[in-house]
């Protein structure tokens, strides 16, 4: 598995196909996060924007190899391991983005409530922001795993489904991503920080399930 992860990571880095999703996230951040804005609001925005980007990174990683090359690796290691390595590589890339975005927001945000009246403790706020960002990275990875091959093989289905699913996961009340982002935004209103790993745990469980389905189908559907 280590060798596969190394291979997939090298494939991602050298293909430069990480560049468009990275630029999209950079644009999201440039538009939505500015110096001196309430830090919890910015964490919420940075996390929510990461979800579709993480889904896009999964698409990049699972479609990075031509089918013939994928078959060669799959014969050696098993199709599900090849698929898992691709998805985990994408998740690692989104986690790097989550950490980087959290650091930027913590650095330039104003550690006060939305009306700038109540002080917000920066470290706990950063912890809450990081948890939300990683939860969104995880759920975006899950969306990407379910909306690309082997489940949806044509681009015409995969891309619109990814966009739709990303919005649903952000907006539907029961989603851990929605809970994490809403927690940050409402916390910003009253200047309170509530560090809970519940959204992260929920996101991890849902994503593990989604990725397991995709990996299990990798040898059943081309």
């Amino acid at each position: 598995m280590t060798a596969l992860l190394r291979y997939q990571a090298a494939l991602l880095l050298r293909s430069h196909r990480w560049l468009p999703p990275l630029l999209l996230y950079g644009a999201f951040m440039a538009v939505g996060v500015q110096s001196g804005q309430p830090v919890l609001d910015s964490f919420g925005y940075a996390s929510a924007a990461l979800l579709p980007v993480a889904a896009w990174l999964v698409r990049v990683c699972v479609t990075n190899e031509p089918a013939a090359a994928r078959d060669c690796a799959a014969a050696a290691a098993g199709p599900w391991r090849v698929h898992l390595a691709a998805v985990l590589t994408a998740l690692a890339a989104s986690t790097v983005l989550a950490v980087a975005a959290t650091a930027v927001v913590a650095g330039i945000g104003d550690p006060r409530s939305a009306d700038h009246q109540v002080d917000v403790p920066l470290w706990p706020a950063t912890a809450e922001g990081l948890i939300a960002a990683v939860a969104c990275a995880l759920l975006g990875t899950g969306v990407g795993a379910l909306c690309n091959r082997p489940l949806l093989r044509s681009t015409a289905w995969a891309v619109p489904s990814t966009v739709l699913a990303a919005f649903l996961v952000l907006l539907v009340g029961v989603s851990p991503a929605n809970a994490a982002v809403t927690g940050l935004v409402s916390g910003s209103r009253d200047g309170t920080v509530d560090v809970s790993v519940l959204p992260l745990a929920g996101a991890a469980v849902l994503t593990a399930g989604a990725v397991a389905v995709a990996c299990a189908l990798s040898s059943r559907r081309r």
Partner: protein
Amino acid sequence: MHGRARYRERMRLRGVGRRYGRRGPWVLRDIDLEVPAGALLRVEGGNGSGKSTLLRLLAGLDAPTAGRITGRPRTAYVPERFPAALPFTALGYLTDIGRVHGLSRSAAAHGARVWLERFGAGEHARTPLSELSKGTSQKVAVAQGLLAAPGLLVLDEAWTGLDRASRIVLDGAVAERVAAGSTVVFVDHDPRRLAGKPDAVHRVESARLAAVGQPVADSGPRVRIEVEGPPGARLPEALPGEPDVAPAAPIGLRLTVAAAHSDALLRALLAARPAWHIRTVTPAHPVRPHANDRGEPGR
């Protein structure tokens, strides 16, 4: 852990079927097949008959819709076309694939260089895959299949696109794999490819599999090998050629095997841990003395 995959559970397909989609027609159905170690198997069939699907099932790329495949050893697969739009050099890609097969970095890089040299593509080791000609790309695909010495090598028209010299190198490499106790399964449009060498030829027709002709190796002359094992040692499993086994006087065992498999069998016995001692090697009587010892004398 890499190297020879000799003593293993025998690979078997039982009632295997494959179709794409829940309502799709069966591409393959009710396939029962034994895939012995040290065997060379040819698969034939018309265009779209399901040959490639069978190879994909054997290589583990596709899971069967029905039935079971058990005992697959570490496998390599060589596709017919390798349009490798990958951001690696030939050497870099082969090293990575070697590591996926479980080789160390140095062993993988060494194997990659050796195989590129053997196919006359040594000077392209540092060339990006995207800049290689079609033929050289195919050499990389074939090297990828050979460099980690897999227990099962699946070749889907791997010769197509290779130049004449490389086809001969690949023929030789296939013979080496079989002699080392690996199984090689191949499809090729050239009916003379490795003519006379396959242990069995199977034809895919109307989604079923049928044996074609007599296996050449098992019907030829046989060789008797008397061996002595270390005290208490059991004969290794899945020996090449599936020898008939009988006790020898005064001690040891007498193995009778088709002559075509005798080299591979001797090599396997000598390489066993602990090693077996070879006492004598003699031609066997034309009539098999112990054909029923294992209940299944070849085919």
